[in-house]
């Protein structure tokens, strides 16, 4: 009654995005001039001391990009982006290249500490006590990687884990052999833009037969105003190897929108397995839809070898707009692709996300579990494609898309594209849409849970299948994040 109304009002008055990573780090930065032209591309390439072939590769991408148009098919709505009004390169001034941990600007170390990301070795991710697993972290701040931990120990196992700008110098043959082979330079508007101006990101190579001895992780932070972040990640799992990789991201609260257009390429050779997990917590904008990150990301994995496996797990709670379809090309015979996703939208967030499973090889299999949760005035779309090539005999897919609505001003949409050119392929698709009912809420409240606690409990139940796929450290983090993201959604 009255008291319930009061609770609801109080909850409403909490900033929709009780976003705790919204602080700004005060640090001097070295920027490229605003705007984009061939000189900007050359500037970035020169900053990185790149070889000629890479500069040309970038310039090709830039010229191609000029001829392309921004895609409009996604179910998202945003004002036109002025690409000349952005900075394409920004690096903390104190950074003159990769360095050892002791040399990193203490201001940066403090920033990551505040974010709960350990840059000192032997520390573990915040939030889990007593966890014995160690995580190697590559920290990317605006356009550059500021630190990579545990490099020496990984090197003992033959694992290469370093900023991609460093890999270009130290392992040019690997970068040249694989970069752009999964997401071609010409792939799409944002990927092409990324190819032209990408500044840093992570590079991982796992040698044949090696099981990576620890979780690898990259943590992305956008700090500068009006700066786009264009990072590029390349992970190669050679024959019979295994790696689990985690990605996290945050950004300060700013009134302007910030652009994030990343490219992630995964390559799994024969019998290799890559598990890629993302907890995306970019600033989502305020409750009126002001500010927030435009997250236009191209992520794709290539199961190039026989019996290889790539698994994407994502928890998406941030960004004003999400445009993202982590996909698998199932090229190798008997290869397997998986996509587990939790996408939460609140306030005025817009999400258009899903996956593509392209079955090319024989007896390939894939599994898609997508859980979309919409609250506030947000819109949440699952868009997915499952395709079987005529040679993909024995291809199998199982898709399950569930949507949960909280309140009556949000939207959930499911748009599956299913195409089979092989009569032998078996594709299954299940989809449900449900709403947290007043009856469920009242039932939980009668047992002592507040409306907020009840909602969080019901939502956690809804996403349980996916949370179980996350590495333990991130699952705890993700669970907390889900509760925070839904603050203010009851009423």
């Amino acid at each position: 009654m009255a008291a319930v109304q009061e609770t609801v009002d109080k909850v409403k008055s909490i900033d929709v995005d009780a976003y705790k990573y919204g602080f700004v780090t005060d640090i001097e930065s070295d920027k490229a001039e605003k705007g984009l032209n061939e000189d900007t591309v050359r500037f970035i390439s020169a900053k990185k001391g790149e070889p000629e072939w890479l500069t040309e590769w970038r310039l090709d991408a830039y010229r191609r990009w000029l001829t392309m148009r921004e895609p409009t098919w996604a179910r998202v709505d945003y004002p036109k982006i002025d690409y000349q009004d952005l900075y394409y390169y920004s690096a903390p001034k104190s950074m003159s290249g990769p360095m050892s941990l002791d040399e990193v600007d203490p201001e940066l170390l403090r920033t990551y500490e505040k974010l709960g990301i350990p840059l000192r070795e032997r520390e573990i991710l915040a939030g889990v006590q007593g966890a014995s697993t160690r995580v190697a972290v590559d920290a990317v701040f605006d356009s550059v990687s500021v630190a990579t931990t545990f490099k020496a120990e990984l090197a003992k196992a033959g694992v290469i884990f370093c900023p991609i700008s460093e890999a270009v110098q130290s392992h040019p043959e690997l970068v040249r052999k694989y970069m752009g082979t999964v997401v071609p330079v010409t792939d799409n508007y944002f990927a092409t833009l990324n190819s032209a101006v990408y500044s840093d990101g992570s590079f991982v190579y796992i040698p044949p037969g090696v099981r990576c001895p620890m979780e690898l992780s990259t943590y992305f932070r956008i700090n500068e105003q009006n700066t786009g972040q264009f990072e590029r990640t390349l992970i190669i799992a050679d024959k019979g190897s295994y790696v689990s990789y985690l990605e996290g991201c945050t950004a300060p609260k700013r009134d302007e929108n910030q652009l994030h257009a990343a490219v992630v390429e995964l390559i799994a050779l024969d019998d290799a397995e890559i598990k890629y997990s993302t907890v995306q917590n970019w600033y989502p904008g305020d409750s009126e839809g002001k500010g927030g990150i435009y997250n236009f990301v191209t992520k794709r994995g290539d199961c190039r070898g026989a019996r290889s496996k790539i698994s994407w797990t994502q928890v998406e709670t941030g960004s004003a707009i999400t445009w993202k379809y982590p996909s698998c090309i199932l090229r190798g015979d008997e290869s397997r692709g998986e996509f587990y996703s939790i996408a939460i939208s609140n306030g005025r967030q817009q999400v258009d996300s899903g996956t593509k499973m392209l079955h090319l090889g024989r007896n390939t299999s894939s599994r898609i579990i997508s859980k979309g949760i919409s609250a506030g005035r947000s819109n949440n779309t699952y868009r997915g494609q499952v395709f079987a090539h005529r040679k993909a005999t024995g291809a199998r897919n199982f898709t399950n898309c569930d949507s949960l609505l909280i309140g009556n001003k949000c939207g959930a949409h499911t748009i599956p594209y299913i195409e089979s050119r092989n009569a032998n392929a078996i594709f299954e698709h299940e989809a449900t849409t449900s709403k947290i009912s007043d009856d469920q809420l009242f039932y939980c409240m009668q047992r002592g849970l507040s409306a907020e606690e009840a909602t969080a409990l019901i939502v956690n139940g809804f996403v349980r299948d996916v949370l179980q796929q996350l590495p333990m450290e991130f699952a705890v983090e993700a669970q907390k994040l889900i509760s925070v993201s839904l603050e203010g959604s009851v009423g």
Binding site: Y443, C444, Q446, R447, N460, G461, R464, D465
Partner: protein, 249 residues
């Protein structure tokens, strides 16, 4: 002790409770009987604090304190329990998780420390054994795929765990076979205590064979129209509600 004083309530502009007055003392088991549509379930919802019902007059006191301004979860923490006629399903949340969340949410509100996992497990196992609830059921999502009898048994299990100072049972006997009825009755009887009251809402005498009430009340058109001892239930079983419905009109 629960005191309902001249309570008026409506939903969507429709008046359901029309000046209902009833007191259930500590240690007392009161039964409410009445025809369909007399507002019995509404009474339980209004007392428990369901927010879509609007109270337009009167008061409800739990242990001497008005609870109408409190949210449903706050009333629960004050010791009020409602066993639902139709317990809700919560997919993906195991029964065990739900029980722990409830207990600790109430403890938190009362400023008590959370129950440790071993203490909690001990408590649940003991209560589950008493209610004939198998471990396997505790690991399943709450009420999902449970039979009617299993759901009701679980309601009583929750009551046993939460140790309320006042419990309302809304048609807990519906959907129960004879064995389940006995288990539920035993569960309730084991909680009967000097400092705990019960309000049992039912259509039939048969539940009252297991949970013998101290007082029986007839509700019709949103009011208590007749009160008496256990013998009143037998009389109703024989003659029906006809006389009382006519009297209330």
């Amino acid at each position: 002790m629960l005191e309902i004083i001249n309570l008026h309530a409506e939903i969507d502009g429709k008046k359901i409770l029309n000046g209902l007055t009833l007191t259930v003392k500590d240690g007392e088991v009161a039964a409410i009987m009445g025809p369909n549509g007399s507002g019995k379930s509404t009474l339980s919802y209004v007392v428990a604090g369901r927010s879509d019902y609007k109270v337009t007059g009167g008061d409800v006191l739990l242990n001497g304190q008005s609870i109408l301004e409190l949210g449903a979860h706050e009333r629960a923490a004050k010791g009020l329990f409602l066993a639902f006629q139709y317990p809700l399903e919560i997919p993906g949340v195991t029964t065990m998780t739900f029980l722990k969340a409830s207990i600790n949410a109430q403890r938190k509100q009362r400023g008590e420390p959370e129950l440790s996992t071993p203490d909690f497990m001990k408590k649940v196992r003991a209560a589950a054994a008493k209610m004939g609830v198998k471990d396997e059921m505790l690991r399943r999502p709450l009420n999902v795929g449970f039979s009617g009898g299993e759901k009701k048994r679980l309601e009583i299990l929750q009551m046993v765990l939460l140790e309320p100072s006042f419990a309302i049972l809304d048609e807990t006997d519906s959907g129960l076979d004879i064995d389940a009825l006995r288990i539920v009755g035993d569960g309730v009887n084991s909680l009967r205590a000097k400092d705990r009251g019960f309000l049992v809402i039912t259509h039939y005498q048969r539940l009252l064979d297991h949970i013998v009430p101290d007082t029986v009340h007839v509700q019709s058109q949103g009011r208590i129209v007749k009160s008496g001892g256990p013998e009143l239930a037998h009389e109703l079983e024989k003659n029906g509600y006809r006389d009382y419905v006519a009297a209330a009109a």
